[in-house]
């Protein structure tokens, strides 16, 4: 990381996120700043709003205020979504296509963000230990293999920021280790990771943000001003 200039290096800044559903306030005034090489873990009980927070940061939640920006080395600000990979609960892979076709498709359609280049589908599958299943239809893979191929998508196109939602769901111990290595490697390259998870991911230096869950915004709709 050569960004030792007078300015701050590559970073993400988010401020003022509040999301509510009906009269339930899921979280309010979520703000964070992470610089290159830093990681953050969202923790909290099921339904506490971790996944919603990730989606809000990417602008995928309809009603949320606040802004999340990616600021590059040259101080240009972009919406976070352009510079980020998002690994959701669902794997974003077509069951009818082979793993190779799926990864190839995402490589072409996502393209590389400036700064680095992504791996080929073969290399990416190798990195998650699944070179052997590349030509099988995605539907034929086991849940853990699907998750690992979904993770390989993060490697085929370069993005400095990874937003991961339960990345290790359905994975065995060895695969968790592999993913931990890949995540550490990403941070070492100057990447940024935000993960929502219950399990330890092997990110030692990660900051932790605790989500406490939804609260009733107003007990009485006629008392809205009190809030």
């Amino acid at each position: 990381m050569s960004g030792e200039g007078e300015q701050m290096a590559l970073r993400i800044e988010a401020a003022g996120f509040s999301v509510s559903r009906g009269d339930m306030l899921i979280f309010s005034n979520l703000s964070l700043t992470l610089v290159a090489g830093q990681s953050m873990v969202f923790t909290g009980a099921n339904g506490a709003g971790k996944s919603t927070a990730l989606r809000a940061l990417l602008g995928l939640v309809g009603k949320s205020d606040g802004h999340a920006r990616f600021i590059g080395d040259d101080e240009t600000a972009l919406p976070l979504a352009f510079a980020a990979h998002y690994l959701a609960h669902r794997n974003a892979m077509k069951p009818e296509l082979t793993a190779r076709e799926n990864l190839g498709f995402w490589k072409r359609i996502l393209g590389d963000f400036e700064g680095d280049v992504g791996l080929s589908p073969e290399e990416a599958a190798g990195a998650v230990g699944l070179e052997g299943v590349l030509d099988l239809p995605f539907a034929y893979l086991s849940a853990g293999q699907k998750r690992r191929i979904a993770f390989a998508r993060l490697l085929v196109a370069w993005r400095p920021v990874w937003l991961l939602d339960e990345p290790t769901a359905a994975l065995d111990r060895a695969a968790k280790q592999t993913l931990a290595c890949l995540m550490t490697g990403h941070l070492a390259k100057g990447g940024i990771i935000i993960a929502a998870t219950h399990e330890p991911l092997g990110l030692d230096a990660a900051e932790v943000m605790e989500f406490t869950g939804p609260t009733h915004r107003v007990a009485d709709p006629f008392m809205a001003e009190v809030f």
Partner: protein, 219 residues
Amino acid sequence: MGALYRRDVILALRAGGGALVGLLFFLCVVATVPFGVGPDLALLARIGPAIVWIAVLLSTLIGLDRLFRAEWDDGSLDLLKMRDEPLVLIVLVKCLAHWTAYVLPLVVLSPVMGLLMNVGPASLGAAFITLLAGSPAITFIGAAGAAIAVSLPRGGLLVPILILPLAIPVLIFGVGASYAATSEIEAFLPPFLILVALTLFFAVVGPLAASLALRQGDD
């Protein structure tokens, strides 16, 4: 964008893609009409182009809810929304791919289906040309309906019901132009040009409405 188009066409044609279902439905509708109407060749020839048009419209409608459904189900839609290109463009490409895989085969097959109805060569040609010009409009309108229904668990039948009223003008001018082609008193060009205008109009409005609905319809 080329990659998206290619993938969508491949997905539609692979096993379970459903492009064949529309084609079979089209065949069923047209093939049953002569049994219902009876062996009156003159009558069949007269209603033939209209039946072919209606059959294409219905076959297109039943495949439309697949336009965004799979993308929604597996979470790909979120990733497509995160792209820096406008969502309208992505929707437009998906519409074109959907039309190529689901509707174009119907249009190509329509002259053969017309033969089943004893339609003459001139009318066959006219029906083919009007379908080629008008059927994209149905897909573009359908995109808006499919986008609205995408997050509903069983919104399959909702899509045809939502968009059928909007597709009626396309049907009217499509059938009107096919009849005018063989008529001596009516001119072919005015209804045909209105049909082309409808397609161009919906090519803009449909994807725009669909992308708005996709952005709003989240969670």
